[in-house]
Symmetry: C2
Subunit: 261 residues, 2 copies
């Protein structure tokens, strides 16, 4: 169930990848490929966060990293974390960005614009659309928990996913690890739909609580993301070894939680 | 009040910019710069839609176009239409993408994640944050019009902008031209806050209805966007002249509506 989030922050890179001896975009590529090599056999998914690349003009490097993941670990799901959301014609172009340009298997999107804005993603064959439901940040309740027709907005989103979006295409939801109660409520609505769970590790979500609240009746259905806690476990030359060590510990914690009923 | 949206669609380019004689990204740059030259003296803002560039790997060209707008028309507001929305650390990087990399004066963002996700944008000095409120698409009512505490979600967003977001930084809202009734309701809440209005032209919104519903008490406060109707007015070599002609007509229609009370 472990997903490693690729959030390359050059200010946190190990010493030998800091400095400005070579271009920041190339250093981002080197860093990410070493993390991929070190953890690819431990994960169900990699999730590059496109903002980390866009802020530094490193789109070509992101293309290279995505191609590298495809080649080295063809069975690992490649999720582009982009949280796109726009009207129809523009959404088609964002779908092209994620699925064609970066060759992602799935992309995260924002539901605020409604079903017609999600259709270009959902309707793409053999690709997954992962819709924000209840995000991991402290302020996520401000709009997501507003009660409408007797239920909070995020449960209305979950219900729409279960009743409508999954009839159009493969979909999943995002629910933050920081809200296990809400995660359980979403699971009760969506049956066996996969749920992507950010917010363990540096954001403080509890793994056992996530597994207990979020797994489906087959003890499956979760993609649990950790980024910073794995990527920046160590800032020495052996950062990739340390990342692997933390990834193994995290995977084992998840698996121990799954063994407990 | 006219804003020209830069949504460069290579399949709609004039003949001489179609073909594959040179790279699609370079043709996008050429097309946009000619539109900028032809309309820059008629507009209050240009609004490049980043999806059109991202789908074709044309980020460098978008940088060039933004720099060109800055240089040729320094008084025109440069709005990056990106509809970003992510949690704090990631939002900071999207703010960097919009304001530093592309040098935009303002960027469009999505409110679903709440105030803390908007703060990195709002808190950037001398920059504007334009938050989606009621979008122009047919399905926008699905979540945006859900009633919570006696008012639809999009009015709750407008109220939060008026009460909270504008105390953090410069902000504006997006309300589609296709919903003039909703535009009037938003204006009643936000006072003199600017409103970006997409959806006239190809999407069918009526200019007089938009001006009547959306202007503030000083007969100001609207940024009315047209993209396709101007960009693709003509597919011959004289496309830029035709774009100018339609832009003048549109500006004049807006100004006539403003003169009517």
């Amino acid at each position: 169930m472990l997903c490693v989030g690729l959030d390359p922050d050059p200010t946190k890179f190990p010493e030998f990848l800091r400095g400005d001896s070579h271009d920041v975009a190339d250093r981002i590529e080197t860093f990410c490929k070493q993390i991929v090599d070190a953890t690819g056999d431990l994960v169900c998914a990699f999730k590059p966060q496109i903002a980390y690349f866009a802020a530094y003009g490193a789109e070509k490097q992101l293309e290279q990293i995505c191609a590298y993941i495809r080649k080295q670990f063809p069975d690992v799901v490649l999720i582009l974390d982009a949280k796109r959301g726009d009207i129809g014609d523009t959404a088609k172009l964002y779908a092209r960005e994620a699925f064609v340009r970066y060759g992602a298997d799935a992309v995260t999107v924002n539901p605020y614009l409604g079903t017609d804005s999600l259709e270009p993603f959902l309707a793409t064959p053999d690709k997954g659309t992962i819709i924000l439901c209840r995000t991991s940040n402290a302020g996520s309740s401000e709009f997501q928990s507003l009660v409408t027709d007797g239920e909070p907005l995020y449960l209305r989103v979950a219900r729409t996913a279960a009743e409508t979006w999954r009839t159009i295409g493969e979909c999943a939801l995002v629910v933050g690890a920081t809200y296990p109660g809400e995660l359980a409520a979403v699971r009760a609505i969506v049956g066996e739909m996969p749920i992507l769970v950010p917010g363990i590790g540096a954001q403080g979500g509890d793994i056992a609580a996530v597994v207990n609240a979020g797994r489906d009746t087959n003890n499956r259905g979760l993609i649990i993301n950790s980024s910073r806690a794995i990527l920046y476990a160590d800032s020495s030359k052996s950062f990739a070894d340390s990342a692997r060590k933390v990834a193994i510990e995290t995977r084992d914690q998840i698996n121990r939680a799954r063994e407990t009923r």
